[in-house]
Assembly symmetry: C2
Amino acid sequence: MEEDDSRMSIELLSAEEDKHGGVTVNIDDPHPIHPLLFASSLKASLSNWTQQGKKGVWIKLHIQHSNLVDSAVMAGFRYHHAEPHYLMLVYWIPDTPDSLPANASHRVGVGAFVMNTKRELLVVQEKGGKFKGTGVWKMPTGAVNEGEDICAAAIREVKEETGVETEFVEILAFRQSHKSFFEKSDLFFVCMLQPHSFDIQSQDSEILACQWMPIEEYAHQDFMQKNQLFHYIAKICLSKSDGEYTGISSLLTTTSSGKKTYLYYNNGYNLHLSASKEEEAN
Amino acid sequence: MEEDDSRMSIELLSAEEDKHGGVTVNIDDPHPIHPLLFASSLKASLSNWTQQGKKGVWIKLHIQHSNLVDSAVMAGFRYHHAEPHYLMLVYWIPDTPDSLPANASHRVGVGAFVMNTKRELLVVQEKGGKFKGTGVWKMPTGAVNEGEDICAAAIREVKEETGVETEFVEILAFRQSHKSFFEKSDLFFVCMLQPHSFDIQSQDSEILACQWMPIEEYAHQDFMQKNQLFHYIAKICLSKSDGEYTGISSLLTTTSSGKKTYLYYNNGYNLHLSASKEEEAN
């Protein structure tokens, strides 16, 4: 009897199974959890998952449980990724190389090429960043938000920085660069947009000035001449404005699971990718 | 005299200044640090940085110092991002909306369209994932590694999955999808590669089978017909194999800071973007 009394009952962590043979524990309890209690539950749970032949074990720790991070690391977990309100830790049980999915590796940015019928380009000067105080006039640019489409991001940035309403036409070009922020890479898409309004009303706290500028003046800025990448992009934009370039079109389509997704491709070949009205009706 | 004796000297954290008015503390000391000592140093340092008018404060905590995470969160820091070996925390001092850069938001994948002179496509069947047991033959695909160029990733994946040596030709199309992994988005680039070898030797533990398959047979698989996105991509590939499509070319160029970067654009317009040998010599 004494033996039974001296046993402590340890609650196993509740976990959701995934289709890759792994489990995910989500710790978002509104109440504080004691690190020692968590450490015991985790140890017992790990032993249980190991017996069950599980592979990857994920722990999503809400930031209010930051006092549990150390216990998970002590149990052999490593960091996988973090967002402002949580930290994701992971542990690979089998004695094989792990096949865990990689963390997000890229940030995505957009620049907007917006030209009016007088061949004037919508350009801005930024208050901060690398162009601060240089006098360089550049296209409106910005980061694509979490879950945002590239074509939508370009329209939003132009509206925020200049107040001008636009419609997406196509992507003219894009570049990939590395180590742009910590160890992450960066994809930057130059989008052509058609303006639907022309009055400039900047609400953006990061924009110093904004104007419509003759495209040749934009392209002949000293900076554009000295920076090969910008020089090429300016050349592409000039060709486009002369009607001698076709960019990359967007087409809203769906996957087999019904997910909406944009496909970007060269639409200059009469490919008839999108369904006709008749096909859609069937 | 007694007053002086009762004072504890608190060491300020050493920090590097950045060009946005912020500071970064890098905690990678090989020795353990006591959380109370760290909390005191952090409190004193924060007060010091506030007086100096600093904005963003970054703390990069090596995973061996996971016992300090809680102290940083208690001091008001939030998570910014994490990689396997470290956690980055951040704190915005001013009484204004923070202008901190966003975390990486996308993973980037590649698929490889590799066709031989007999109009046969290099295709694989995967052991796991969503196509497991479906019998679907697909292009070799994979994730772009940290710091890797899209064009290089496609070549590497084909070599790993099939043993076939290839050369990058162009990107045929790409799609963006959302919520593909936790809250992250996904960019997938279909790359056309020219094969330089034809013997199949798969070393990849995730590949079940691999073969050269007539392109029409590939495109007419049931799955391709039912999935609009795949159907469109197959159509683009067929057009390409018939010489009726131009994809997105790559050009290695440099930024003003001398960074190498690939620019991707439609090269079907005789744009003469790359410098001639003479220009390069000057």
